[in-house]
């Protein structure tokens, strides 16, 4: 009997596909349902943010960079401000530092809540998505109350923050934290022990630590592979050394660990926020020396922070004028997408979806 002739076929997953989180295109070479090769094709969301920034003053760069990584726009605000402050030797008032930490960590919680929902949705459970977004709304309300926007904040500025928090912020924030920590048990009850969830994520798409380090993967994905590397500890910025929090690490590097690690991080972020709320000092919120036409001296600087998707960095070159000469951004998603073809093959298309979801890639950060 002659052997059946089989051949590989190519599936274009994306740019318009429900589970590629934006306009990522993955060219999959498949053998039946098994993936043999992945080729990420990027650039569908390229908006030339870096070039746009070169034509804006330093203050104007911040709302543009809000769109760089819109799920955690606070981090984008912050990392650019940090770079500009380091260039211009700007002191930041204490209260502003605390407010920044509160906002950054709240934004981290919000981002991880989205991650929780989206990952569950990609693996087929619809309801957790709505639950995740429901609690995220509480945080969005806090942001809107403070800076007026829910997604693109333009809040953290060079030398401080744009506005002081309203008086009702602190009680509302505590209440939101309480609600979220109560509802964490619902999240875990829905998925953590669910046998379907376990077989879909446990032991699936293991990212070895060496490979992750070799490709510059950072953030929760790296920590889920067993590397304890968090810029809040390893390259401290702002006032993170004043707070008592743990860096969660998990060692299997599979989808389940990446998922659990983010839930752990939500808890740690809540710890940081409540500590910061307790010790929030009074005082100035912005360095008055920073003007609209902020002109740092000529030089170059690289500032990096720990974002929810890994290291978020801005490399800034100034020629002494009111506009940056060069703004180079670095987002964690890019590295995570680049490492995907090297360990994401030899599995089924459903595993790729789970894997892609737990990497938590968002495309604006990749394409910029």
């Amino acid at each position: 009997m002659p052997e059946l002739r089989t051949e590989e076929f190519i599936v274009n997953m994306g740019p318009h596909h429900p589970s590629t989180h934006g306009v990522c295109r993955l060219v999959l070479t498949m053998d039946g349902e098994k993936i043999i090769k992945i080729e990420p094709v990027i650039g569908y969301l390229h908006r030339a943010i870096e070039k746009i920034c070169e034509n804006r003053t330093y203050q104007q760069c911040i709302p543009i960079l809000d769109r760089f990584e819109y799920v955690t726009a606070m981090s984008c605000n912050y990392v650019f401000s940090l770079a500009a402050e380091r260039l211009g030797q700007v002191e930041v008032p204490q209260r502003a530092e605390y407010l920044r930490v509160i906002m950054l960590e709240l934004n981290r919680i919000a981002s991880h809540l989205i991650f929780y929902g989206v990952t569950a949705m990609d693996i087929g459970a619809y309801t957790p998505f709505l639950y995740g977004l429901r609690e995220r709304e509480l945080i969005m309300d806090l942001f809107e109350m403070t800076c007026g926007q829910r997604l693109t904040y333009n809040y953290i500025r060079i030398g401080g923050v744009s506005r002081d928090i309203p008086p009702e912020f602190v009680p509302k924030c505590r209440e939101a934290l309480k609600i979220i920590s109560e509802r964490m048990s619902d999240y875990e009850g829905l998925l953590n022990e669910n046998p379907i969830w376990l077989v879909r994520t446990k032991g699936i798409a293991i990212l070895p630590a060496e490979l992750a380090v070799a490709y510059g993967v950072s953030g929760p994905v790296l920590r889920a592979s067993g590397v304890q590397y968090d810029l809040r500890r390893n390259d401290p910025y702002s006032i993170y050394e004043r707070f008592d929090f743990d860096i969660p690490v998990r060692y299997h590097g599979d989808c389940y660990d990446r998922y659990l690690l983010r839930l752990d991080e939500i808890r740690q972020s809540m710890r940081i926020v409540s500590q910061a709320l307790d010790s929030l000092p009074e005082g100035e919120i912005k360095n008055k020396k920073v003007k609209a036409n902020f002109k740092p001296p000529a030089g170059e600087v690289y500032a990096r922070i720990e974002n929810t998707r890994g290291e978020l960095g801005v490399y800034l070159i100034s020629d002494g004028s009111a506009k940056p000469l060069r703004v180079k951004t670095r987002g964690g998603s890019y590295n995570q997408l680049q490492v995907l073809p090297h360990y994401g093959t030899n599995m089924l298309i459903a595993d790729l979806v789970a894997n892609f979801a737990t990497l938590d890639i968002i495309m604006p950060e990749v394409d910029r």
Binding site: N55, R56, P63, D66, D141, R163, G189, N293, K323
Partner: protein
Amino acid sequence: MIKKLLKDIKALAQGLQIAGKHLGKHAVTIQYPEERWTMPERSRGMVVLLSDKETGELNCTACILCEKACPTGAIRIEAPQDEKKKRHLKAFVVDYGLCCFCGLCEEACNFSAIKLATKYEFSTLSKEDLVWNVQKLQEMGRDVDYVDVRKKKPVPGAAKAPAAGKAVAGVQSGEASDTVSEPLKSPVTANESSPAGPDAETASEEGQS
């Protein structure tokens, strides 16, 4: 094996219980056109031009600070200078297709003339309708409450229009209001006395193009 099976069934039942628990709860969403969310007072929505509460005239002095502050070039002002280098507002256009609602124009303004109000509905059927002229912007701003930072300054020599430098001094004295968090002293004076700084000029031009 049996133990694991029972554990799995328990976990599955727990999921069902959590989902069922929510069945009876009230929805957290609202029925939008009938019910409306009260926006927080700082909410950055529609850009409007504010008018004086008493005279009903625009607060805008055509200093084009907001145009310079705008990172996307959504604000376009036509304000030719007369022989005394005083600007007269001829056209003020906000293109909502470009606006990114960052609020920098509001922060740049020293005369409480422009504000991001809490209004948020401006869907239209054509792109051209998103470009609002001064009349529409003023009309939308009529019922917007604001802290008038100009009034805090005792105006010396009332016959003259308030010079920019003094207005800034007024803002700094009225520090309490947090609607203007950066005083923006130097660009104002630069703007009024001499042609604006080359950087700011090019920024706005490139934004427009």
